[in-house]
Each structure stands twice: as structure tokens, then as C-alpha cells.
């Protein structure tokens, strides 16, 4: 049943999303593609919406997929699922094991998880980049280069670096999303 499936899928994601918002992208990608809930392009659209609306990205993504697949009940269950593990873990820490982080074993375990999560994020970025810009979803796919996409990628990377230099602080993702939207509207309608 879709509602239970949404709840348990997001419970699993919530329990293992170390490393903040982007840390869960690899898990979410695997689940939504595996369940056939979304295509890779849908996933990227949804991340953009989650980044440009207030609130934790994880919650935004859960609500969005839940609503898409199971209406308001789906949205509520997916959101509950993604929040519940954090809630329970923190409650246990706050109430019982105040110095969980002082245990060397816990530190050692997290020491293994941290580089893993970073590696997964980088690899997901590479996979999504190959799919979006070069049309390669898996080995054997024909190369279809999206030159306009590559131009937008370069423009976004350069303008982020320049804006950061000028403003002396990291640029908000929303600004970058707006820039890329304008570039998309200019470049994609041009027939090639």
C-alpha cells in the first residue's frame, strides 16, 4: 500500500541521512528511482523547489514526494517518517545519554560514516551531471551532449565564484537557481 510504503521509505531515509540536506540525496535518489516515483529530471526539479522554499530540505522533499504519490495523507506520512528518527534519537540523547558523543565507539562509527556520505554526494553529483549534460544514465547509453546545459553549468559555476569574491560570503542557492532559470529561458528555446 502506497501510504505505508511512503512512511517506511522516508523513515529509512530519515534514520540514515547523516550530513544534512544534501547527505540524503543519494538515498532519496535510489528510493524514488527504484520505486518509479520520479524520473531524474523530476528529482532535480524537486530539489530546486526544496532549496528555494523555507524549511529543512529533507522535510520539503518528503512532503513533495508524499503529496505527489499519496495526496495529503501521503505528504503527512512521508513527512512524519522523515522527522521521526531525528525526533526519537534527540529525545533519547536529551533525556538519557547526554554524552553519547563522548563514547569512542560512537565517534569511530561516525568517523567512518562521514567520508562515506561525502563520497556519495560527490558521486551522485557526477552521476546526475552525466545524465543531465551528456545523456548517459548508464553504461551503454549513447552520448547526447547538451551544449546549452554545459554552458549553463559553466555560467553558474563562474558567477557563483565571482559573486562570492565580491560579496565575501557564499551565495544563496536561490540566487543561483534564478540565474540558471533565466539562462534556461534564453538558451533552450533557440532551435539548433
Amino acid at each position: 500500500m502506497i501510504l505505508l510504503e511512503l512512511f517506511f521509505t522516508f523513515l529509512k531515509i530519515g534514520a540514515l541521512s547523516f550530513g544534512g540536506g544534501m547527505g540524503m540525496i543519494s538515498l532519496i535518489r535510489e528510493e524514488v528511482l527504484g520505486h518509479g516515483w520520479m524520473t531524474e529530471a523530476d528529482l532535480l526539479n524537486m530539489i530546486a523547489v526544496a532549496e528555494s522554499t523555507p524549511g529543512p530540505i529533507a522535510v520539503n522533499i518528503a512532503t513533495f514526494i508524499g503529496a505527489d504519490e499519496g495526496g495529503i495523507a501521503g505528504a503527512a506520512l512521508a513527512t512524519l517518517g522523515v522527522v521521526l528518527p531525528s525526533f526519537v534519537i534527540i529525545l533519547v540523547i536529551a533525556a538519557l545519554v547526554k554524552n553519547l558523543l563522548k563514547y569512542e565507539g560512537v565517534k569511530a562509527f561516525l568517523g567512518g560514516v562521514r567520508p562515506c556520505v561525502i563520497g556519495l554526494i560527490l558521486a551522485v553529483a557526477a552521476t546526475l551531471g552525466l545524465g543531465t549534460l551528456l545523456g548517459i544514465g548508464k553504461i551503454g547509453d549513447a552520448l547526447t551532449v547538451d551544449w546549452r546545459g554545459i554552458a549553463i553549468f559553466a555560467a553558474v559555476a563562474v558567477s557563483a565564484a565571482v559573486l562570492k569574491k565580491i560579496r565575501k560570503k557564499p551565495v544563496s542557492p536561490i540566487v543561483m537557481i534564478l540565474i540558471s532559470a533565466v539562462l534556461g529561458m534564453i538558451l533552450y528555446p533557440i532551435g539548433v
Binding site: 532535480l44 530546486a48 523555507p54 529543512p56 505528504a75 525526533f87 561525502i118 556519495l120
Partner: protein
């Protein structure tokens, strides 16, 4: 302040945080500190830093972690429920409403073009989030090996369309960390496990 009032003010304070922090994560830390340490004095600075450390090493969004912890410290379990619901509610409502109109919105030609551009930008956002975390990672042999292994794992499973659970893989990497630590203890004998 009566307990009921305290719970209500926790709810409202986190409702505000949930409604006005964009981007999540680290943008939120500064806001939480301003609201709860400086302005309201519900937490002292040390306790706040402790929460940040806990939030960073437990799964889940930092906003949820902070809401649950601050809510519990100030008004028990009910307080933690009120704060957590408060921080989640704005996202939930906003995203639910957007999801109702999103497909119709995307069917407009120029919106679709804009989103093709945005998709490229999201790839860049994910990449730069990963690179930023990479910069902060100590380059110990263990970290470098696990990192390389994870990149390979993810690329191979997606490019060759092999299905292997990422969840299991993350747990496996945690166990590698634990095993390396235990091996160090064994080899170094008692008390030498740095």
C-alpha cells in the same frame, strides 16, 4: 512562565524559524543562536554548541534536531513535540500547496525551459555542497579510503544499474570506522588507543 504558555511560545518560535529559514542546514545555526541564546536566553552558549555537535553527528535535519532538543530542555516531551511540529509545519503547508500546482506550472513552455536550466544548477549545487564538505574533511588514510570506496560504489551501482542498498553501504562504512578503531586498540594495547 506557566508550562502551557512555554509550550505555546516554543511552538511559535519554531514556527517562525521553519517559515523563514531558506536553504536549511548551516544558515539555520546562526538564526537558532540569535533566537534562543541571545534573544530568549533559553539555552546558554555551551549547551547550544553541544546541540550543534549532536545535530551534526545524528541523522536528520539540524532544524529538527535543535527543535526537539530545545523543546525537551524547556518543557519536556510535550515541548519537544510542539517545537518539532512548529518547525515542520510551514514547510509542509508551503510544499503541499506547491505540489498541487507544480505539474500544471511545468507544462508552460517557458517554465519548462527555465527548469531545464535549473536542473543543471541543482547538479552544481549538489557538487558544491559535496566539495565544501570534502574541504572540511581531515585527509587521514581511513577517510581517503572510505571516500574513494564510496565514490566507486555509487558510480558503479548507478552506471551499471546494479541494485545494492545505499543504506547498507553507509552502515558498512560506519563499521569500517569502528573496526579500524578496535584494531588500533588491540594493537596499541590498553590505554594506547588514542
Amino acid at each position: 512562565m506557566s508550562k502551557r504558555k512555554k509550550i505555546l511560545s516554543l511552538f511559535l518560535a519554531f514556527l517562525k524559524i521553519g517559515a523563514f529559514t531558506f536553504g536549511g542546514g548551516y544558515a539555520m545555526i546562526a538564526l537558532l543562536e540569535a533566537e534562543f541564546v541571545t534573544k530568549r536566553g533559553w539555552l546558554d552558549k555551551d549547551e547550544f554548541l553541544n546541540i550543534v555537535a549532536i545535530a551534526e553527528s545524528t541523522p536528520g535535519p539540524i532544524a529538527i534536531n535543535a527543535a526537539t532538543y530545545i523543546g525537551y530542555k524547556n518543557a519536556g516531551v510535550l515541548g519537544s513535540v510542539a517545537a518539532t511540529v512548529g518547525v515542520v509545519l510551514p514547510s509542509f503547508v508551503i510544499i503541499y500547496v506547491i505540489s498541487l500546482f507544480f505539474d500544471a506550472f511545468l507544462s508552460l513552455a517557458y517554465v519548462a525551459y527555465a527548469f531545464r536550466g535549473i536542473q543543471v544548477c541543482v547538479v552544481w549545487l549538489i557538487l558544491s555542497a559535496g566539495l565544501k564538505m570534502l574541504k572540511g574533511l581531515e585527509k587521514t588514510p581511513l577517510n581517503v579510503c572510505v571516500l574513494a570506496l564510496s565514490v566507486l560504489f555509487m558510480l558503479i551501482t548507478s552506471l551499471f544499474a546494479v541494485r545494492f542498498s545505499t543504506v547498507l553501504f553507509i552502515l558498512f562504512c560506519g563499521c569500517i570506522g569502528l573496526a579500524v578503531y578496535l584494531l588500533g586498540l588491540l594493537r596499541g594495547g590498553k590505554g594506547a588507543g588514542k
